[in-house]
C-alpha cells in the first residue's frame, strides 16, 4: 500500500532527512520519502503491517519534530 501524509509545520530540512532515513529502515517498508519542500511523507509498505508502520512513522516524526502535525494527504 502506498499513502502520502502531510507534515504540517515541517521547518527543519535536516530533521526531514533523518525522519526519512528512519522510516525507510522500518520493517515492512518498501520505500519511503520525506519531501521537505512539499512537506509530504510518502510511505509504501506491506498491506498487513501498514497500520503499525504508520504508527511507528508518527513516533519517529514526533521524536525529531514534536511540533509537526501528521495528517493524511
Amino acid at each position: 500500500m502506498k499513502r502520502a501524509f502531510k507534515l504540517e509545520g515541517l521547518n527543519c530540512a535536516n530533521c526531514a532527512e533523518k525522519i526519512e532515513r528512519e522510516v525507510k529502515a522500518l520493517r515492512g517498508v518498501n520505500f519511503a520519502s520525506v519531501n521537505f519542500m512539499t512537506a509530504k511523507m510518502v510511505i509504501d509498505g506491506d498491506d498487513v503491517m501498514f497500520d503499525e508502520i504508520v504508527k511507528a512513522a508518527q513516533g519517529i516524526v514526533a521524536r525529531y519534530e514534536p511540533d509537526v502535525v501528521v495528517k493524511k494527504a
Binding site: 521547518n11 530540512a13 535536516n14 519531501n35 519542500m37 512539499t38 521524536r63
Partner: protein, 630 residues
Amino acid sequence: MLFSPYQKRIAEIAVGSMLFLFAILFEAGSAARLLLFLAAYAVTGSDVILRAVRNVSRRQIFDENFLMSVATIGAFCIGHYSEAVAVMLFYKIGMLFENRAVEKSRRSIAELMNIRPDYANLKRGENIERVDPDLVSVGDVIVIKPGEKVPLDCVVIDGSSTLDTSPLTGESMPERVREGDEMPSGTINLNGLLVARVTKSASESTASKILDLVENAAAKKSKSENFITKFARYYTPAIVGTSAFIAVIPPLALKGAAFGDWIYRALVFLVISCPCALVISIPMSFFGGLGAAARRGILVKGSNYLEALADTEVAVFDKTGTLTKGVFEVQEVVSKNQYNNEEILKFAACAESFSNHPISLSIRRAYGKEINSVLISNVKEIPGQGVIATVDGHFVAAGNAKLMQMHGISAEDPGNAGTVVHVTVDNDYKGCIVIADEIKEDAAKAVSDLKAQKVKKVVMLTGDAKSVASIVALSLGIDEAYGGLLPADKVQKVEELMADKSTKGKLIFVGDGINDAPVLARADVGIAMGGLGSDAAIEAADVVIMTDEPSKIPVAIKIAKRTLAIAKQNIAIALGVKGAILSLGALGIATMWAAVFADVGVTLIAILNAMRVLKVRVLGSTITKPLNER
C-alpha cells in the same frame, strides 16, 4: 490576547534586542548589565533551551537546539555575556527569516502549479450544484463558466469557447474548443459557457496526475542531494568532536594556554556545526528547478533526471511524431507514360484498402472516393515491401523498389523526402506516389538550440528508409541519421551511441512514448513528447513534454543547467564560508559573531540563491502567471 506563533517570535526578538541594547549601555562588569543580559537571553532563548532538553531526553544530541544552547551557555560561563546573547538573538532572527523564506518558496512553487481544481459545477436535472470534484463521477455532466478551471477531464457536449492551456503546457496560445472536443483538467475556460461530460474521475484526471508527478518527483534524489545528506550525517558529529578536542587538549598540552581562550574557540565551532544551509538550499534549488520546468509543460520525474539532463552530450530523436508531425500526406503523384494520376491513385487505394498502415490510410485519403471492395481479391501484404492484389481483374502491385524488383521491374525513387509507393498494373509500371510526413515548425530550432546548449551530437533514428532519414536530417542540421531500423535495432543503436560517448556525458532519447518504451528505458534520460492525455507516455518516460514541441528539450536542459549551477554555488558558498570560519576559529581569530553569521547568514544567502531558479528566463520566454491569478 492571542498571538500567532510568528508574532510571538517577533515579539521575543524585539524584547530581547531592547534588553540587549540596554545591557550594553551599562558599565562592563556591573551586576545590572549581567542581569539585563540574562533577561535578554531568557526571553529569546528559553524555547530553544526547552526544545534542547526535550530532544536530549530523546537522545538527539546533535540537534541544532542543543548545540546552540551549549554554545551560548558555554559563552556565559566563560564571561562572554554579550556574545552569548547576540548569538542566540541572531540565531532566532535567522530561523525566523529561514522559515519565512521556506514558506514563501513553497507558496510560489504551489502557485506555479496552481492547477488543482477547487470545485465543479455539477448539473443535476435543471439544477447546478457547486461540489467537490472528488464527488463527481464519470459520465456526470458539468458546467464550466468563463474564467473557471476545467475541474475534471471531460468532453464538450454543448457550447464553444477558447481554452487557456498554459497552466499545463506553458503555451500562451489559447485553443478553440467546441462540441466533441476533449478538455484536460487544469486548463481554463476563457470566454464561452461550456457543458461537458466527465470522462475521468478526479484522481485519474490530468491535473491530479501532473501534481502527483511533480510533488513526488523529489523522491528520486540527485547525486548532489545524496552527497549533502551523507555529508550532513558526518559533519555535525565531526565538528562537535573537534570542538570537544579543542576545548580540552590544547590547554592541557600547551604551556601557558588559557582554558577560557580555547573553550571560546571550541564554542565558535559549535555555533557553525549545523549543516542547515546545505540541507535546505540544495533540495530547494532542485525543487525550484522541477517547478520552473513544470511551469513550461516539462514534467521531470526526479531531481536525478534534472541532474542528468544538465550533462546531455548526445540527444537522440525518434523521427516520426517527434521531429515530424506523424501525419502522412500524399505530396505528389508522378505518372509514367502519360498515365492518369487519378488512375494510379485509384489502383493503389484499392490494393491498400485492407491495410491500416499510415501510408495506406494517406493514399485512401488522397483518393477520397468510395472503394468497392467486391472488385478486390487476392490481397497480400508483404512486410517491408508493400501490397499485391487483384483489382477489377488486373494484377496490381503497390510498394517500394524492392517489391518492384521482385516483379522484375526497375523503378527509381524520385529523391524527395518521402516514402515512395510505386504502382504497377498487370506488371506494367504506371508511376509512383510520394508520401511524406511534415516536419514540425520548431524542429530545426530545437536542433540549433541543443547545439547552443553544448550538446555534442544530435542523432535521429527512424524506421523509414535511409534516403528519407538523410534528407530530413540534412534539412534540420542533425549530425547523424539512421534509417530502416526496427524497434529492436533502435535499442541496439542507442546502446552503441551510449558506448561511444564520454563516461560523464549523458544520452537522452526523445520519442512519442508509444512504441519506444524499451529505448526510453535504455537511455540515461527518456523523454516522451505530447504527454497531454497519453498515460502510456507518462508511465514510460523520465521526462514528459506536455506539448509536442521538440524545442522544449533545449529549454529543459537550460533549466537543468541553471539548477545545477545554483546548487553548486550553494555548496561552494556554504562549505567555503564554514571552512574559513572553522580554520580562523581554531586559530582564535574568528569570533562568535563571525560564527553566527556563517551559520545564519549563509543559510539565508543559500535560500535566496535557490529561489533564483524559479526566475530563470529561458530562451526569451518568461514565466506567465496563470490567467486566474490576474
